[in-house]
Structures are given as C-alpha cells and as structure tokens.
Amino acid sequence: MKYAFFLGCLIPARELSYEVSVRKVLPELGIELVDMKGANCCAPFSIQSIDHASWLTLAARDLCIAEEMGLDVMTLCNDCYESLLMVNTILKRDKQTRDKVNETLSQVGKEYKGKIGVKNLVDVLYGDLGVKKVKDAIKEPFNGLRVGAQPGCHLTKPKRIHFELLRGFNDLDALVQATGAESVPYERKEMCCGGPLRDINDDLARKVSRQKLKALKDADVQAVTTVCPFCFLQLDLGQLEIKRHFNEDYNLPVIHFIELLRMGMGMKLEDWEIKAHRIPITGVLKDRL
C-alpha cells in the first residue's frame, strides 16, 4: 500500500509529534508514504469563506500533484480531508465546474483528471489495511483502558458524501478496540471540538470544547484520542484555556490515535513527544512510557 502523503499546514507547524508517529508506525504496517512535493495548503474553511473559485482551484492543484504521482492522497487532518474530498467529489461530478477549474490550472501547467481518491488515516487503517492486521500488530494491548474517541466532524459529516464511499461511522471505535482499549460511548460524540472558531471567536470556541469535555468526563474516560490536529489542539491546549477562563479542571489526557497504536505495538514515545501533550499523559500511561 502506497499513498501520496498530504501533510497540511498545522501539523508541521505545531504538531510534529503526530507526524513523527505516523512516519514511524505506518511503514511497520507495510504502508508506504510518499511526500507530495510543492503541495499548497488544502484551502480550509477560512479560505473557502473568502472565495469559492480559489478553494476549488487550490485544492484541485493538490489533487493534480497526487494524480501525477499516480497515488491516492492520505491526509492526517479532518480539515484537509474535507476540503480535498469535497473538491474531488464536486469536480468528478460536475463537468462545467471542472472545465472552469482546469482553465485556470492550465495557466500553471496542470490538469485535473479525477483519477485518484482522497483518504484519511482512519480510512487507510480501517478500510485499506483492515482491523485484523492492526490487531495482529498489537504486542502490548491496553487492557481495558477507557478511551473516549473523538472522530471529529469531517470524518463523518456530511453523511451523504460518506455514505457514497460506503464508510462506516464507527471505524475509529473499532480501531481503538483493536488496541485493547475500550472505546467508551459518550454523549455529544459527534459534536464539534470547537476548533474552527479558534482565532475567530475564541470565547465561543472554548464554550463548545467545554461541552465536549464535560460529556467525556461524565462518561468517566481515562483518556481522549483524536485523529485531527485541530481536535487535538482544541481539546488538549483548550483545557488549559478553559481552566484559565472558567476555573474548571478536566485533567483529561489527549492522545493522537497513532500514538496509542504506536505504544500498543510496543514502540515507546520519546521524551519530547510525551512533553508535547499539555495535559500530562504520564499518569494514565505510566506503564507505557
């Protein structure tokens, strides 16, 4: 299995530990990642809010790069995933829009053909590799660790796009269970982390995260796991901000799912990776670190 690896903006800027774990774990599972040279930002919601045509064309440019590589794209971020997936879906379906986008792309020597698919980390692990192989790779299962899985909005919404891709909505839960941990059901699981309003309306963003964290705490989870850098940032760093503004202490460790998988496979996290979590993970995972 081989994918065009779309790194995005936030991960290399602020969540190096996420990227490093992906680069360590996936090859162990027989998955090869090829970096996309010259890729631009996926054109997330902030850019879509400004100009529609720019969104379509910029995302299409990234898709062209993957097409030239002859590989499906894999993203690590729900925002990148949603942007590239939606544009890929629109352009495959709508010839008029495709022609218009290609007219612009021809000025930079590119053409969108619609030959590849867009996937995220969960698609790759659950859909392409399969839960069984993930389970087989686990050497040190987390016996019954109570984990609250946060799939994030755009892994499953809008549902009509994902229905067509025949994707399940509990894929992440199955992957969490494969590590031996328990994926604990909690209220408002499908609710947004609040991240998209960060830097636009920080107060509201915090209040949204707070609802989510409350629900997780009520479900008595020991840790939260995410598959999106925005969810991670909002729920991890967000807890410190909530403490400052609302004087509430949730103290819920947040772990990238790939880190959970890595530890389950018997690979230790390094010191700087452990410290990349603002809410210490050393308590819950002390026997793994």
Partner: protein, 154 residues
C-alpha cells in the same frame, strides 16, 4: 436572496422551509442566542441584507455540518454560510483570524507557518523540508481567481 441563491454554495436557501432542525442541532445555537441558523435563513429570504451581512452574523458557524445531515430539504444551511461569507468579505466584513490566514496563504502557500524552533527540530530529525515550492503557482492562481485583490484589500 437571489444574490445568495446565485452563488454555487448558496442554492440551498431556495429549499428552506423554516422548520428549524438546523437550529435545534447546532452546537453554537445551544450556547448563544446570537446565532440561530433558521433565523439567519429567514433574514436572507426576507431580504434583510444589511442586517445579515453586518458584524458577526456570518461568522458564528463552525462548519461542523451537523445541519447538512439534519435538513429534511437537503438545503445545506452550513453551505449557505460560505455563500454569505463570500459576500460579507467583499464588503469588508472579515475577522482578523480569517484575513490573517488568507494573507499567509498568499505569501507562503500555507495558512499556518512553522516557527523557527519547529523548523530547526525538523532539520535535526531529518524530516522532509517545508518549502514554498508551490508558491509561484499559488499566487498565479489567486491572481486569476481574483483573490489576490481581496487579500490585498483586507
């Protein structure tokens, strides 16, 4: 309303029957009375252009797309928000967080850029370099689509 309905992501406004399923599932509407997607749709339908485009109204939405799944009409309220924002931006209504990302995109082809220490760490770890290889093409695209002009005006 026609201005919204005539944009690619704004067509859903024509399907709105004012049932309120968007508002009742909206995580932001739960927290603040300022944001009520159903009421916003109503304001667009009734032509309250000035009120709709003013201040914060277009910028409360998380784009979590819960309403897309809930709308019985397939009216895509969350999509209409983008049509609305596209219009608001052209009238100069754009939050600093959004214009900052747009400027970064125009200048570096990325909306968020690594700080020096992150770049140094990448180098010591032998991770792939963060480059601006695509920047020339990105700027050319933004010039053609007209976004360059918007970025320079906000």
């Amino acid at each position: 309303m026609s201005e919204v309905a005539n944009t690619p992501r704004g067509r859903g406004i024509l399907l709105c029957i004012q049932c309120g399923r968007c508002s009742s599932g909206c995580p932001v509407a739960r927290l603040t009375g300022e944001h009520n997607p159903r009421r916003l749709m109503e304001m667009i339908i009734l032509g309250f252009k000035k009120d709709v485009l003013s201040a914060q109204l277009p910028w409360y939405c998380l784009s979590c797309f819960t309403c897309l799944d809930r709308c019985p009409q397939g009216g895509d309220v969350g999509e209409v928000m983008f049509a609305l924002r596209n219009i608001a931006v052209r009238q100069g209504n754009v939050p600093a967080g959004v214009s900052g990302q747009a400027k970064a995109l125009y200048e570096t082809a990325r909306v968020i850029n690594p700080v020096r220490s992150a770049l140094d760490k990448r180098e010591t770890m032998g991770l792939v370099k963060i480059t601006t290889d695509g920047l020339e093409e990105v700027q050319k695209i933004l010039k053609i689509t007209g976004m360059e002009k918007i970025v320079k005006s906000i």
